[in-house]
Symmetry: C3
Subunit: 146 residues, 3 copies
Amino acid sequence: MKYYRETIAFRTSAQTEFVDITNRVQEIVDASGIRKGRVCVYAQHTTMGVCINHNEPMLLQDFMNLMERIAPTDAQYAHDLFELKKGRKTDGRSNGNAHCKALLMGTQAAVPLDNGHMMLSDIQSIFAVEFDGSRDRDVIVSVSGI
Amino acid sequence: MKYYRETIAFRTSAQTEFVDITNRVQEIVDASGIRKGRVCVYAQHTTMGVCINHNEPMLLQDFMNLMERIAPTDAQYAHDLFELKKGRKTDGRSNGNAHCKALLMGTQAAVPLDNGHMMLSDIQSIFAVEFDGSRDRDVIVSVSGI
Amino acid sequence: MKYYRETIAFRTSAQTEFVDITNRVQEIVDASGIRKGRVCVYAQHTTMGVCINHNEPMLLQDFMNLMERIAPTDAQYAHDLFELKKGRKTDGRSNGNAHCKALLMGTQAAVPLDNGHMMLSDIQSIFAVEFDGSRDRDVIVSVSGI
């Protein structure tokens, strides 16, 4: 078995943002030299999710609306009160909502490989999803196979 | 390491449908000859999810109701307006809701193997979940291990 | 490739409970002797989820509130009626809500390894999440790599 890993580092710019990392993940698969196996994308964060869906700008807006309905930014979260009390929120963030959104989306996705290419359909993209931007983010891409 | 992959192709019949693919996945594990490792089930689609839960017909209805409450079919989605404007919706589908449902469910699941058998409990089944049927669907099953 | 697997067995005490299993998973990674690869955590249950997020008590309360808003315990579920009719609910549980919560959270998580350590950030913990306690639970931890 071969195993190869790289980290994609980037800075998000908006509060909520779908960052399409498909091409960067494929480049890492290319660099791995692995032809058959699986690539796993893992967000090393608690207010960022990973998902696979269609990169269509209006649909991404629907996704933001969906996540906002489920965990509204302006609702009250015990986490935010706690952090304020402890004096930990030096950056002024109240990000309980972002943790909730990330919880439901999940922190990783995996895609099978065929002859060195991710088996995504034509309209599938891999996204790192920022829920508490802007921040510096690290997404770990690991490839395993033969 | 051994690696083996097959695609399960099928046609869904309903708008929303939980397709139990447990037996077909186990057949692929059998064909792989892999005894220890992991099987990964991946839906190559943006309006289909993959999940593991109990195949109990009334519960599946609860799951459909749950997903419908979260992303109602008859709500307005920017994606649907976009597609209509671009003249792309030649099949008359308004499937923003289906993308939202698939986003939350996720596109893959993985199960560990023990002596060539998936380590599912007696009441765990693997489902490919159609949210925008009826359609032809491909689910990729990859097995890795020793 | 090396492959190693152990089961974490424990009993939950509350109806809903976030059980932090991070240290026990790392112990299994240690026992595996695997330095590079991936660890996968799989809940062999249909009313338990697995997730990765911040172990902050007030935030865990927010997560419980979130899941309860999405699938309220006191709503009516067809599953519960069915089970009652069939006389199967000998323990008096009405757990349709717990299945729904587990469906959205998902049954597994995977973390990449670096030099034998899980690549979690300082505030990431791995949780097995009970939605229908108290019960005896088995979580399967499998490590694969080199």
